[in-house]
Point group: C2
Amino acid sequence: MRLTITMRATFMYGAGEVRVIDSPDPSLREPTDALVRVTRTCICGSDLHPYHSMPASEAGAAMGHEFIGVVEEIGDEVSTVRVGDFVIAPFAISCGVCEFCRAGLQTSCVIGGFWGNPKFGTAGGQAQAVRVPLADGTLVPVPGVGPDTDEGLLASLLTLSDVYGTGWHAAVCGGVTAGSTVVVIGDGAVGLLAVLSARQLGAEQIVLMGRHPQRTELGREFGATDVVAERGEAGIAKVRELTGGGSLAVLEAVGHMPAYEQAFGVVRPGGVISRVGVPQYEAAPVGFGSLFRHNITLTGGPAPVRAYIERLLPGVLDGTVNPGRVFDRTLPIDEAAAGYAEMDDRSALKVMLRP
Amino acid sequence: MRLTITMRATFMYGAGEVRVIDSPDPSLREPTDALVRVTRTCICGSDLHPYHSMPASEAGAAMGHEFIGVVEEIGDEVSTVRVGDFVIAPFAISCGVCEFCRAGLQTSCVIGGFWGNPKFGTAGGQAQAVRVPLADGTLVPVPGVGPDTDEGLLASLLTLSDVYGTGWHAAVCGGVTAGSTVVVIGDGAVGLLAVLSARQLGAEQIVLMGRHPQRTELGREFGATDVVAERGEAGIAKVRELTGGGSLAVLEAVGHMPAYEQAFGVVRPGGVISRVGVPQYEAAPVGFGSLFRHNITLTGGPAPVRAYIERLLPGVLDGTVNPGRVFDRTLPIDEAAAGYAEMDDRSALKVMLRP
């Protein structure tokens, strides 16, 4: 009889129903797999969407798509990652060789997909260990770093799994360049890191729309020059005044309809609305009265963070930037449910989990 | 007693109700005005929208926003246009000096606007003469051309008022470059000139979606490599097959919802939908299931044709391109109503009017 070794992993069983359970320790299944022992993982703003709306499920859904850790085992065909490597796992699984991966759009990989996609049969990243499919295309080794690395650096490395690359994607798609004026809608982790990214890209005026003073204060430290707490028409009027008639770059890091409406309220003719918050709507105004009349471009989508790690890693490693400051709470993985609740009631900005 | 000299001008009084009437000959009103004696004008696909839906009106609406002609008189402050100049009038009135005009987005000029906007108090371009506001910023003189110029060249010059520049805008906003694959949706004049523009920009594969054989045949002569007559799911499937999974550049030159749906059905992940057909809808799918999932960009709007004339004029003058071939019918202005009816029932592609 073979002993089944178990680990702790986070599952959601319906709206508001998160449990950390014993789950079989993962093992290699495909020759392109790697096993990663998780060093740090975290809860994403997008995890709150099912937390609000998931229908009850007995089987539950494995949670988590952001983690860093150490490679414990690799399949026969894995060649770019070795046992013992410290790695960042982007939130999308990607092959690294298809047309889209080569173009830097790994989130549209033809055989990859998102964590939790049943086709991969993996658990999620909010666990002690993860089987990583397509390890060569997915994982990014970070030499010189290990589980004992400074806690602040681990936090910043973890943001390269998702939120920092997502904020960067917003800024890049929004066409932010040196001297730009930028409006960032949303003071969640992605919005704040969109501010940081815009600053890194040389933006001069960065207006952050958000109403949580602790968060917007961090936004100022990341580079926001103005903060607008008002929403709706009042918020739009204030931003238009601050920017002399709107901004050519508007980064929408929320995903709800009011944020979209704010975006086209503050964008300047000829400008760009760059969305990285997962839209919680399907239809939206795009006609003559909203986007078309003034040649407004709508762009963005799931960030190919894999494509940005090489660009962003040096600044993280040398401490030029500290995106990990978005983590304001760290909990042991067994308390993941409390972490969800704290992010949901906004008492925590972003919760890191220690396996 | 002063004699009132009259001219003939086209008005619409409700859906399907077009009349050419005697109207006072225009005169200068502002020092920035010019008077233009119209040489050729035409009916636009967008004129068919009110032709279908305009509520009955006793005063009527002055029609027309595309014309070429000769400057007869200028106001004291006009400096770039002289009496006797042969000019192209873009479909938007623009000052030429504001932020947006300088950026090449004359359709968003802060004091300009579209023909027919009551603030200008002008009649439309489907008339024998027009008072042109903001003449310096709006009109483009064409040296060496006059009303007696070859009919084919006049037709091509007239397309620079709108449809050629609009097709060009679609291609430029769609990111068409040398070697591109492009899908053009719509075989109206703008769609066909989007094909011509894509070809000029070096596109290698140009798939034209349209179902009027005479029009798509002209599309082939303009550079289309493939024609897809099917619509809906069948059309999408065929285009995806022809392009090996969709096109990075999709130029939408219709403005109706089925065309929009075709656009996101045939766009490739990471691609661009460039719209120049005036949207006849306000809300449209833009969420995870349509644009967001694969980082599709939605762009376009009213073309700043003024910005493109300098680039496009030489090819027209030297005969490299013949965009005027989209005119398949010429009528005296008094028969404008027949012209509308022929465009509406698709027996004419685009109708030129001779004042």
